[in-house]
């Protein structure tokens, strides 16, 4: 199964899967990529992120490459771990996956996994309005188009306003009026 593009779509699909098949299990894999050359890994395991000063010392002492010494900060370090979330239901064989390497997402993802474990539905995840499907975005686009025209007729503005009401997009509507 392919990876889902966003964490949100992964969580939404997972909640749907769990509702349909409550036996589905969620696996979170935190992994480092395999090293291409085992000789370096066995001799000196370089700590990536835990300590910046240690990194600095290692880069200065070792005479490996110039690129590492020039780019001292941690993100340029080769070993960036990845986090893969997988929801798998053995009965149906459905498998949902999401992959990330951003540390900022971890807390949010795990918290959402807890909600999934508690049997939360799509709304219960509290992920927000993108669960409101394409109609909402279409309305917003309609509202934006006359706003871009700036000197649009009043008729267009009214149409956009009503559409905004329908979608519950108050912010968008206000922004349009402010521009004028």
């Amino acid at each position: 199964m392919p990876y889902l593009p966003t964490a949100q779509s992964y969580l939404e699909q997972s909640s749907l899967l769990l509702q349909a098949y409550p036996d589905a299990r969620i696996t979170t894999k935190y992994t480092f990529p395999p090293r291409p050359s085992p000789s370096t890994s066995t001799s000196t395991p370089t700590p990536t992120s835990t300590s910046k000063p240690q990194d600095a010392t290692t880069t200065t002492t070792t005479t490996t490459t110039t690129t590492t010494s020039t780019a001292d900060p941690t993100p340029s370090k080769p070993a960036v771990a990845t986090l893969v979330l997988k929801t798998f239901d053995p009965r149906s064989g459905i498998c949902l996956k999401y992959k990330t390497n951003k540390g900022a997402e971890v807390g949010r993802l795990i918290t959402s996994l807890g909600k999934l474990a508690a049997g939360a539905d799509v709304e219960g995840l509290g992920l927000g309005s993108s669960a409101v499907p394409t109609s909402g975005t279409a309305d917003v686009e309609m509202g934006d188009a006359p706003a871009l025209g700036a000197a649009g007729p009043a008729e267009g503005g009214d149409g956009a306003g009503s559409a905004g009401k329908g979608a519950g997009g108050k912010g968008k509507k206000k922004g349009g009026k402010g521009k004028r």
Binding site: K29, Y30, P45, S49, A81, N101, A104, R108, G126, G128
Partner: protein, 138 residues
């Protein structure tokens, strides 16, 4: 499989497991969660079953058999790290709050981007005010 750990022991062991993996920048940690079958749970009247949480290193902390083949036989016997615990439905929220903290702290090998984080946070906050309150608690 050894007996299930208490939450405190589980978190302590998980912290060390994640930290060692992060410092070594090698290997993997697998975390799984799945509902226990209702028959084994103590209280079957609850709507949501207890959740079984497992953590393992998948024996990835053991040396690579290809490279270490003839070197030391004793190292081949490095046991796989396995942790497990059971979370009752009423403890779920508290457990996952700690779980998220432990994972955030332990998974230090991931990219750190403060700007992106703020951006994502703003987006999430704007989308769901209800969610915002829950997130801050966690």
């Amino acid at each position: 499989m050894p007996a299930h750990l208490g939450h405190d022991e589980f978190f302590t062991s998980l912290t060390t497991l994640l930290t060692t993996t992060s410092t070594k920048t090698r290997g993997s940690v697998y975390l799984t969660q799945k509902p226990l079958p209702p028959s084994t749970t103590t209280d079957s009247t609850t709507t949501t079953p207890s959740i079984l949480i497992r953590a393992t290193d998948g024996n990835t902390s053991a040396p690579n058999p290809k490279t270490h083949q003839g070197k030391t036989k004793s190292k081949a016997a490095v046991p796989k790290t396995k942790l497990s615990t059971v979370v009752n439905p009423d403890q779920l929220e508290a457990f996952y709050a700690r779980y998220a903290e432990v994972c955030k702290a332990g998974m230090s090998g991931l990219k750190k981007r403060d700007r992106k984080k703020g951006k994502a946070k703003g987006k999430g906050g704007a989308a769901g005010g209800v969610a915002g309150g829950k997130v801050t608690k966690a």
